[in-house]
């Protein structure tokens, strides 16, 4: 109980500190932007550790963070190998292909109202196919190595990016479009100089959601057949062995990689859509 009470106390004081710190000038510096969420994360971990110890949760249900950390440091080569297989090969390639085709498709169907009216509902429908059903099929089609994982990622990220891009391309104001009309700008000029820039906040919305989807997709697809490496493979085998510390070690890597990936996209977004009120408000 000491553990639990201590952890809760720590959590409360750390939160109070964060509330204070986030209003300091320090919070606006790069270090502050990392330190404050990091501290919050630490409080979560402490709470977790305290709960596991205080309530005597068995390690086969939920291992303590300290145990998981031990596993992480002890199995770096395995984790690295899995990371390369799943995230770099499966996730990233699928992300690039999926987002790329989604944006291109959005532009392609944007041009033709006929296609847009035809493809969007059908596209919505296809995208609603649940990945747990699609993954086995794609593994059957594309083999058990990373190619099938990339295919799953493509399918997963396609819809959110497409929808957001289509919405973004429609997000211009009447006067902005009229201006282009008075220049008798061609379709492509209007696209490049007005509609794509105006769509960027929306597109990045989609791209950000897609980062996490890409990760999940790549990992989940490995549950349906894989070579004997990869994060999904490791997780599913480790669960079978009740090696939950390994499961959580992989989850930690996934979370870290995912957050970093998301952060990177958000950073690019900040550079590209600096002009949008939602970005300006915080600068």
């Amino acid at each position: 109980m000491i553990w639990l009470a201590g952890a809760i106390l720590f959590w409360l004081s750390a939160w109070a500190f964060n509330v204070w710190a986030s209003h300091q000038p320090f919070a606006r510096t790069g270090a502050g932007r990392l330190a404050i969420p990091a501290l919050f994360g630490v409080t979560l971990l402490v709470l977790w550790e305290g709960a596991v110890r205080g309530l005597d949760v068995p390690g086969v249900i939920l291992p303590a963070p300290s145990v998981i950390w031990g596993t992480i440091t002890g199995s770096v080569p395995v984790l690295w190998q899995d990371f390369v297989q799943t995230i770099l090969k499966g996730g990233l390639s699928g992300y690039v292909m999926g987002c790329g085709t989604a944006v291109l498709t959005a532009i392609a169907i944007d041009r033709s109202p006929f296609l847009q009216r035809g493809l969007l509902p059908v596209g919505n429908f296809v995208a609603a196919l649940p990945i747990v059903g699609i993954a086995p099929i794609l593994v059957m089609w594309f083999g058990f190595d990373w190619q099938s994982k990339a295919a799953v990622v493509v399918v997963m990220v396609f819809f959110p990016v497409l929808v957001n891009t289509v919405a973004g391309l429609a997000a211009t104001e009447r006067m902005q479009r009229d201006l282009m009309a008075t220049y008798s700008a061609s379709y492509w000029q209007t696209l490049m100089k007005l509609r794509l820039p105006a769509a960027m906040p929306f597109i990045f919305n989609g791209l950000k959601i897609a980062t996490t989807l890409a990760l999940i997709g790549a990992i989940v697809a490995e549950f349906f057949g894989s070579p004997i490496k990869g994060m999904g493979f490791r997780i599913s085998t480790a669960v079978g062995q009740l090696a939950l510390d390994m499961v959580w070690a992989e989850i930690a890597v996934a979370a870290l990689a995912g957050s970093a990936f998301y952060g990177l996209v958000a950073l690019i977004e900040k550079g590209v859509t600096f002009w949008h009120p939602s970005q300006r408000a915080r600068s």
Binding site: I61, S236, L242
Partner: protein, 307 residues
């Protein structure tokens, strides 16, 4: 009536016919038990369910139960309705495989999730590395169906005599076009489908009594199923909530399962246990258990149940 929750290792099918029969035919009722059967699936680790308190007793393969025991979950085998192993490697003849020597350079589909140990130990006995290359085998984590063989993504895949093998046959590949290697015949068989409970519970007299009655009724169910395979299959079918099982398949499965349960009265044969442990200890570089477990089985229940 006393409540008992049983966690299966896999989906509702004739592999677990004994329990469904016991429930359906009122054998559990006769013993004053109210049994809930929880189906399993590819994502369910029965060990985890029992550790979380979601079940009183579970069905598992011995390698995975022993692995869990070493990880700190004190599981004890209280009964072993399956006498022999039904696992085998099924290969396409056209790949030219005729003996285990021919595996080299081929891709093999293996079940993981705690079921990989017999295979790994077999390969290490054969001296074949599982890291790929011309001299080793390329291992592929097989999903839960036989597609890798049909799509020729693997030369061999893991199958059960009572289930996946027949799916391959049903898909249209003749038995002549297949080569099979039964783990039982290769001397690397491990115990399948035993009943496990948590060690601490066994000290509780009331729980012990419940298990005694449970095992007695379950074995009665198994023997009834062996004698009336077709009826048992129909009972299983009635209990399948997914509505995906077919009559023909379940009847055939029941026939094959009966071959594996034949010869067991429910009590674990210590010799089988020793052979399983020996196989596992002989496993490759990453052994599932590092030392012979203590107290991983007991006759405490079966002794009373089978009087």
């Amino acid at each position: 009536a006393d409540d008992v929750t049983l966690q299966l290792k896999w989906v509702t099918q004739a592999q677990f016919a004994g329990y469904y029969v016991a429930k359906d035919k009122g054998f559990y009722d006769e013993e004053g038990l109210n049994v809930t059967i929880l189906p399993g699936g590819p994502d369910i680790a029965p060990t985890q369910v029992i550790a979380g308190g979601g079940a009183d007793v579970m069905i598992d393969w011995m390698p995975s139960a022993l692995a869990a025991r070493e990880k700190g979950l004190p599981l004890v085998n209280i009964a072993q309705p399956f006498k022999s192993s039904g696992m085998m490697l099924t290969c396409l003849k056209e790949t030219g495989i005729t003996s285990p020597e021919d595996f080299k350079g081929k891709t093999l589909g293996v079940w993981f999730f705690g079921n990989e140990y017999p295979f790994l130990s077999w390969m290490s006995q054969l001296g074949i590395p599982t890291t790929g290359g011309a001299d080793g085998v390329e291992v592929l984590k097989q999903g839960f169906n036989v597609d890798p063989l049909l799509q020729k993504q693997a030369a061999c895949i893991s199958t059960m005599t009572y289930n996946e093998y027949w799916q391959v046959i049903d898909a249209g590949i003749g038995a002549d076009d297949l080569v099979t290697f039964k783990y039982q015949d290769m001397g690397v068989a491990t115990m399948e489908d035993g009943l496990y409970v948590l060690e601490d519970n066994l000290k509780d007299a009331a729980f012990e009594d419940k298990m005694v009655r449970f095992v007695r009724a379950s074995m009665k169910g198994w023997k009834w199923a062996e004698e009336n395979p077709d009826d048992a299959a129909m009972i299983v079918l009635d209990n399948d909530e997914t509505g995906a099982q077919t009559e023909a398949h379940q009847k055939r499965m029941m026939g094959e399962v009966a071959k594996l349960t034949a010869g067991s009265n429910g009590a674990l044969d210590p010799a089988d246990y020793e052979r399983t442990v020996a196989t596992l200890l002989a496993g490759g570089s990453d052994p599932v258990i590092s030392k012979a477990p203590e107290g991983a089985w007991t006759h405490q229940i079966t002794d009373k149940a089978l009087q």
